[in-house]
């Protein structure tokens, strides 16, 4: 019964939070409305998300977020330096292939998103079978290092989450 | 500010007019779009310009509000022109697919439909 009403409780909870953020006012009425929406909206959109993944370790998620945010801040300064102070001809842009161990589309997407959001690298394309990511590196000497860093820092953590 | 708004309307109008005078449907659609931008801003401006005075009533504040009526009119106009543009786009597409070219001018206004087409239309 509960399973049918709330197929993805975490997902529904997220929506309730989003709703409260939207209305920006935590009242009983809004909570109630949020709860209703939290149940109805996933029910409507469920067909579009077949094979809903389940997150193994929510705590790891927080860790991952922290790592990424920190990387973003650091990389931002690094890349800003490149843009502002490095001569264009000195910038060595390279393509890097990152083969993947992940198979969950959600995990791959998060990894690709992480790569892009951390300045300096942009995940440009997947292989046709989704098995590797083509990453563009703004300024790097050693493509292998970049690949290993991505696999170690992000992919490893994601494998633990999913 | 007023000059910027007025001149923006003017520029949009000029661009729109130039484009609706082109010979193919697509630029004409673009022109109509520009014209509808122009007229929307024009209509909006008839309420005169005001900064930070949205017509959303505030319970405990005695503040000025800009003229809400033109905004409502523009909203109506936007919706209508959306519907119209959609129809226009479809007409243009349909005419292109039927005629295999997208010239908007009909060379001979009296052009006679060949009988098979008439049969299709009939």
């Amino acid at each position: 019964m509960m399973k049918r009403l709330l197929p993805h409780p975490l997902y529904s909870l997220t929506l309730v939070v989003v709703w409260l953020m939207l209305v920006n006012k935590i009242t009983v009425g809004n909570l109630l409305l949020g709860a209703i929406l939290g149940m109805v909206v996933p029910a409507i959109t469920a067909p579009y998300w077949p094979g809903h993944p389940h997150v193994r370790s929510p705590l790891r998620v927080l860790e991952y977020i922290a790592v990424v945010v920190w990387d973003i801040i650091v990389a931002n300064f690094h890349v800003a330096g490149i843009i502002l102070f490095k001569k264009n001809k000195d910038i060595q842009s390279k393509w890097v292939t990152v083969p993947l161990d992940l198979t969950s589309p959600e995990a791959i997407t998060i990894l690709a998103g992480t790569i892009t959001m951390t300045p300096g690298t942009v995940s440009s394309m997947l292989s046709a079978d989704g098995g590797s990511i083509l990453v563009h590196c703004l300024d790097c000497e050693d493509t292998d290092a970049v690949r290993d860093e991505i696999k170690y820092r992000y992919e490893r953590r994601l494998k633990e989450i999913f | 500010m007023e000059f910027l708004v007025a001149s923006a309307i003017g520029v949009l109008t000029a661009g729109g007019v130039y484009l609706i005078l082109r010979l193919r449907t697509f630029p004409v659609i673009l022109g109509i779009s520009l014209l509808s931008y122009a007229v929307n801003v024009f209509l909006f401006a008839t309420g005169r310009l005001a900064v930070d005075a949205p017509p959303v009533l505030q319970k405990y504040a005695d503040v000025a509000y800009t003229d809400p009526l033109p905004q409502a009119l523009v909203l109506t106009a936007i919706v209508i022109s959306f519907g119209m543009t959609a129809v226009l786009v479809m007409f243009a597409l349909g005419a292109y697919l039927e005629a295999d070219h997208d010239q908007i001018n009909i060379q001979d206004a009296d052009e006679i439909e060949s009988s098979d087409e008439k049969g299709q239309g009939a």
Binding site: - | L43, I80, T85, E98, I106, E117
Partner: protein, 508 residues
């Protein structure tokens, strides 16, 4: 408040979605519902017209908001007669569409048809300038759908032009409304009248611009020179019954000019002095000329009829441009006449063209019932060209009589008469080629595949011609109703009081 006033709008507006979304798979049901709806509309229109015969302007305050803050509908003699005209025409056209099976040649005919009626009635009844725009759009977009009903290359391309022209027109309408609002701060027609009358004499430039822009907008609908160009292509390529229905569309433009330029920018209003008569009259004359020339120069039947519609609008607007009560009453008579005359010809043309396979004005083997169609064409042509005994002749005489006190009387008379002659010659040539010359040829071999028109199919065209006869026979009473209509229009204070005084009494 009399809720029947809004019925001509709400009835088709509620019926149309049902037709489109509930009954769309059942043509019999759609036809029945559409027909019943239109009959009801006609009944309501008759009721409203009779109600208005007694005089007095009735106002319907939508949303229970007083004027000028909400939107009002205004029922006076003019709006009543226009709604009635629409309903009667709609009945005839609907009958034709069903009898000839036109309604089956594409999707959603009945829904679009009802929406079209809704838009037209809404435009006639509204007492609000912006709302007039909205209903213009309703009737236009429905007409786009009807215009391309059944599809086909030429029709679609002509339809595209029609849409583009009207979109440009709608844009100008908004510019005009914006200017009007920017100068007067109101949108209600009665309130506009008050504000424009009170306009200080040293600050009228903007309101004059608004008045002129508005005039051009309505002129597009009324197919007046130099914005008449769209009409022939559109009417000539529209499905014939739709072209017949469109006979009322040009009248919407004429109606709007009559309404706005009597009530708001009336002849006595100092601010907009001279705007209408100065520009309307020459435009009307050129329109008339272009229409007549088009009739003579057309290579196909449908454009010929379309040009005759252009010409009739020229005559009509010529009478309007005099802007005297009597001239206006003659204009209204001509309006009624030309609507049915145009419709009759287009309906008839449909019967002929569908049997002939095309509408080229070249000799082709005779079609079945050649004599019948020739006779009907003769009658229709007489009606359109303004020959006796049909209402066109009386209308022409009345219009000439109506403008006789104008300084440009000679010009107007000359234009009307010469245009009449050219039109007559044009129609005679066309009829001669279509129905007479063909008798010298062998009947087409495939003629056995062409089915003769049934009484049910010829009925609507004859009905429209019957309206011309009726207008002619009952010209006296009709003219007297129209004279009081014109008088009511020129007494703008009656309109203004009816709309605005309830606000003073505190409605809400």
């Amino acid at each position: 408040m009399n809720h029947w006033i809004i019925a001509p709008v709400v009835l088709p507006a509620l019926l149309a979605p049902l037709l489109a979304f509930v009954m769309r798979h059942d043509i019999v049901l759609s036809r029945a519902a559409s027909a019943v709806g239109t009959v009801c509309l006609a009944a309501i229109a008759i009721g409203l017209t009779m109600l208005e015969a007694g005089g007095g302007t009735q106002v319907y305050f939508l949303g229970n908001w007083t004027a000028p803050f909400g939107i009002v509908l205004v029922l006076d003699r003019l709006s009543a007669i226009m709604v009635l005209l629409t309903a009667v025409l709609a009945l005839i056209v609907l009958w034709h569409s069903i009898a000839t099976g036109w309604d089956k040649r594409g999707r959603h005919f009945h829904a679009l048809f009802q929406f079209q009626l809704m838009g037209i009635n809404g435009a006639f009844l509204t007492g609000d300038a912006f709302n007039l725009f909205v209903f213009f759009e309703v009737l236009l977009i429905a007409s786009y759908g009807l215009m391309i009903h059944g599809g086909g290359r030429t029709r679609l391309r002509a339809g595209l032009q029609y849409v583009v022209m009207n979109l440009a027109g709608s844009t100008l309408f908004l510019f005009a409304l914006g200017t009007l609002y920017a100068t007067t701060g109101t949108l209600n027609i009665a309130d506009l009248a008050v504000k424009v009358q009170a306009m200080p004499a040293d600050d009228v430039a903007l309101v004059r611009v608004a008045a002129v822009l508005m005039l051009i907008v309505f002129a597009i609908k009324a197919a007046l020179f130099p914005v008449q160009f769209w009409l022939p292509g559109t009417y000539a390529n529209a499905p014939a019954p739709v072209a017949a229905l469109f006979a009322i569309m040009t009248k919407v433009g004429a109606y709007s000019i009559i309404r706005i330029y009597t009530i708001v920018f009336g002849p006595d209003v100092a601010a907009t002095q001279g705007i209408v008569t100065d520009w309307l009259m020459p435009a009307a004359i050129i329109t008339l000329a272009l229409g007549a020339i088009g009739v003579l120069g057309a290579k196909r039947l449908m454009p010929l009829l379309a040009f005759s519609v252009v010409g009739s609008m020229g005559t009509l607007m010529l009478a309007v441009s005099a802007f005297t009560p009597y001239a206006l009453s003659t204009a209204l008579y001509y309006l009624l006449h030309s609507t049915f005359a145009g419709a009759a010809l287009f309906l008839l043309a449909d019967l002929v063209v569908s049997r002939r396979g095309n509408d080229a004005l070249t000799a082709q083997p005779p079609i079945v019932q050649n004599g019948l169609f020739a006779a009907l064409f003769f009658v229709g042509a007489i009606g359109m060209a303004g020959m006796p005994p049909l209402s066109g002749f009386l209308g022409k005489l009345m219009v000439m009589d109506g403008v006789r006190d104008q300084s440009w009387m000679a010009l107007a008379w000359g234009a009307i008469l010469i245009a009449s002659l050219v039109t007559i010659v044009g129609f005679a040539r066309a009829g001669s080629v279509l129905f007479w010359k063909s008798t010298a040829m062998e009947p087409a071999e495939a003629s056995d595949t062409v089915t003769p028109a049934t009484a049910l199919q010829v009925g609507p065209a004859m009905c429209a011609m019957g309206m011309l006869v009726a207008l002619s026979v009952f010209a006296g009473p009709t003219a007297s109703y129209l004279e009081s209509t014109a008088a009511q229009l020129f007494d703008s204070s009656g309109y203004i009081d009816a709309v605005l005084s309830p606000a003073l009494e505190g409605l809400k």
